[in-house]
Symmetry: C2
């Protein structure tokens, strides 16, 4: 049995200005991470859901990105404004937010229509 019903990893990666791949945060600080933490606590899920910081998740072209395990649901172009919907729909309700999901055929694919 997994320790956490949902274990969320939010990319904190930051690259120098002019780097060829996108940064998920400007300076290593993620307002998205902070907001998700707050909302999970407010929802009373502090023991069941962990909002974790992560290094580069290597889906930079879709950044800012995050992934939810054990279900392996990937979200891209996520901002702190999306945190409430992710918490309510996915982490509380168990229903992933389809509009934010990175399509399976875009993952690890630098030639997907959203890259380049």
């Amino acid at each position: 049995m997994p320790l956490f019903e949902h274990h969320v990893f939010v990319c904190q990666n930051s690259r120098p200005a002019g780097a060829p791949r996108r940064s998920c945060t400007a300076d290593g600080n993620s307002e998205l991470h902070t907001r998700l933490q707050q909302l999970v606590r407010e929802a009373g899920l502090g023991n069941k859901v962990r909002i974790n910081k992560a290094g580069c998740l290597n889906q930079c072209e879709h950044g800012p990105v995050m992934v939810v395990y054990p279900e392996a649901v990937w979200y891209g172009n996520v901002t702190s404004d999306d945190a409430k919907e992710i918490v309510q729909s996915h982490l509380v309700g168990g229903k992933p937010v389809e509009r934010l999901r990175i399509a399976d055929d875009c993952l690890n694919n630098p030639h997907c229509p959203h890259c380049g």
Copy 2:
């Protein structure tokens, strides 16, 4: 289908000297992370397995810790000397390394026999 057959998160957390909870790294650099990355590449699993850095995974009493998703297998007291066995047995062979697993009833339990 998960993007990665195994997505490994290695805690990089470091606390000031004298902090009440254990640090998973002395200075935010993890030889374990580096070694796992090297061995996964050497095993030809670079596209199937990702070795990721993570912030605090909150199982500090068992640190250094890491977790492997989507199977949610937690390892504790792991050193870089354990990397080869983890890669060969678990990430290549699909068989978790039982001697390093954190027992289910120790996870999130500050009163487990290994804590305090």
